[in-house]
């Protein structure tokens, strides 16, 4: 190991007051992956934090240069296994653009439904761990995790895997719906819609949750724009920006949905954004099931991509994932660059966890839905 001890530099820019103390939070697993937050505290107040990330860095972008286009899918979706479809899709979009492959309409609809199911699953994971457990609310943890499993079972039926689907190779999804899938999914949505009302009563309207999350970790609209945060964090600060609307991919152009935004910018408004997004996802899946076109689901895609660069993007559960793929006329990409929501939202951690109580830190951290593995890649 090097002789340099890790020093919190955001704090080291300021003179260290004698009354302050440095505390290392992590790098054990705080619920979503290994990360260390170096906190400088003054009594019960956090003066500054320095996020020390990279504990789960595995060089995805480097590995991608050694694998061919299809073999890249499984390892590029691993960084955020609870949101695998979106990571997979974000990588496949630019590859398809380079290869000039157009996915048939039915394939687009299946991908869209799978992606929205994944959004619900990911938000339920957030609700269970990052919102529930971090605020000490064990009931919502049990409820949300239980209901998430119902979606996982359906996803397993559709794709063959519970979390790591590798469902969207270039050209379209791997499988069509099994017979009876649509009815089961529609039934589950009816059940889940009723459950959301109960979640609201148990969690969102719970005075303890409101007292802990409201007014905590306020990110103003102009700061959110300046810091370039994305996803529910951005929309919780009142910026109406969603890639599904801004640059529709898949079947989103045919479907009607709202972009939930809240002006307050605090942890509670980020909670609300995710709750409303789950309701929107239910509506999107229902519309897509009704409009489902017939026909082939996928086209054959070449194994080689020509020279050139393409940029694709999707709206994942944690925000926009932008992937740039540079091809060089071979079966392996010359360069893959992944810009995902967690890495972009990382800058909000030192910005928001400042001049707050130590006890507010898990609430703010949880409200950002930061996923360390996705950020580290």
């Amino acid at each position: 190991m090097t002789a340099n001890p890790p020093t919190p530099t955001i704090a080291s820019n300021e003179a260290k007051e004698p009354s302050t103390m440095d505390v290392s939070v992590g790098p054990q697993h705080p619920g979503s992956g290994h990360v260390r937050l170096l906190m400088r505290v003054d009594g019960d107040y956090i003066v500054s934090i320095d996020p020390d990330i990279g504990y789960v860095h595995r060089g995805c972008e480097k590995i991608a240069e050694y694998r061919n286009y299809v073999s890249n899918i499984p390892h590029l979706e691993r960084p955020c296994i609870i949101d695998a479809i979106h990571l997979n899709w974000a990588y496949v979009l630019p590859v398809e653009e380079l290869q000039g492959v157009i996915v048939p309409p039915r394939g687009q609809y299946i991908s869209t439904i799978a992606a929205e199911m994944n959004r619900i699953m990911s938000h339920l994971y957030w609700l269970a761990i990052n919102a529930g457990v971090f605020s000490g609310h064990t009931t919502i943890f049990m409820w949300a995790f239980g209901d998430r499993d119902l979606f996982i079972e359906l996803a397993e039926w559709l794709t063959g895997a519970r979390l790591t689907y590798s469902f969207l190779p270039p050209g379209g999804p791997r499988r069509d719906f099994p017979s009876g899938f649509e009815q089961k999914l529609a039934k589950l949505l009816d059940y889940f819609e009723k459950r959301l009302v109960e979640y609201d009563r148990m969690f969102l309207s719970n005075p303890l949750v409101v007292a802990r999350a409201k007014g905590i970790g306020v990110l103003k609209k102009k700061d959110a724009i300046k810091l370039g945060v994305t996803g529910p964090v951005l929309r919780g600060s009142g910026v109406e920006y969603d890639v599904r609307k801004v640059e529709p991919y898949g079947a989103y152009a045919d479907l009607e949905f709202q972009i939930p935004t809240f002006k307050e910018g605090d942890s509670y408004s980020r909670y609300l954004v995710r709750f409303e997004e789950m309701k929107q996802s239910i509506s999107i899946i229902r519309q897509a099931l009704n409009k489902m076109p017939k026909g082939p689901i996928a086209r054959k895609a070449p194994l080689v991509a020509p020279e050139g660069e393409a940029i694709g993007r999707v709206e994942s559960s944690r925000g926009e994932i932008t992937v740039m793929v540079i091809g060089d006329n071979s079966d392996k990409p010359y360069r893959v660059k992944i810009m995902n929501g967690s890495f972009r939202n990382l800058i909000a951690l030192p910005y928001l966890i400042r001049n707050v109580h130590v006890a507010d830190m898990p609430i703010i951290y949880g409200s950002l839905d930061y996923w360390p593995v996705e950020a580290d890649r």
Binding site: M1, T2, N4, P6, T9, I10, N13, I53, G54, H57, G59, E61, K62, I63, E65, Y66, R67, E97, A224, I225, K226, L227, G228, V229, L234, V239, Y241, V246, E247, E309, A310, I311, G312, R313, E320, T322, M324, I326, K332, Y334, R335, K337, M339, F343, R344, L346, I347, D376, R377
Partner: protein, 164 residues
């Protein structure tokens, strides 16, 4: 839609060319609302400031380094987008600068786009690009005891992963 978006992209390029006639080297429009502007690396701050203040690209989505060992150059790509201007929200502008491989140095844009903070740190670590003026340029993702060359350079090979 395509007619409209093409004209918007061309407007950005025309504005850039008339504002910085001598710095802009090459421009390109890709089919999918993507604009690429290659420019002289010494003027990154001027162009970034103009992009933010006059055109409305208020945030960076990421900074990508690309290594071209046969040309002995590195490229640094800034992917900029806009939240505040709905009419250009769907456009991604890629600002591209070439750096010599032996001394890859470019001015930091953190003072213009604060969102560049961690992206520049990552590019510094992975490609060894020195961003002059960055407030806190240090390693981010690799191990504390990693003292090898920047791992994303093409001459760093990992034979156990296969042929490239």
């Amino acid at each position: 839609m395509s007619q409209k978006s093409t004209s918007r992209e061309e407007t950005i390029i025309e504005k850039a060319k008339s504002r910085f006639p001598e710095y802009i080297k090459e421009t390109k429009i890709d089919n999918n609302r993507r604009v690429t502007i290659s420019f002289d690396k010494d003027h990154v701050q001027e162009i970034a400031k103009w992009m933010r203040d006059d055109i409305g690209f208020d945030h960076l989505k990421g900074i990508a380094g690309v290594d071209y060992p046969t040309h002995k150059k590195l490229e640094v790509l800034y992917l900029a987008g806009s939240f505040s201007k709905p009419e250009i929200q769907d456009i991604i502008v890629t600002l591209k600068a070439e750096l010599p491989k032996d001394a890859p140095t470019i001015s930091s844009v953190v003072s213009i786009w604060e969102s560049a903070h961690f992206h520049e740190r990552e590019a510094f670590e992975m490609f060894g690009i020195n961003f002059e003026g960055h407030p806190d340029l240090r390693k981010l993702l690799t191990l504390d005891n990693w003292d090898g060359p920047p791992p994303m350079l093409k001459d760093i090979k990992f034979p156990e992963m296969g042929q490239r």
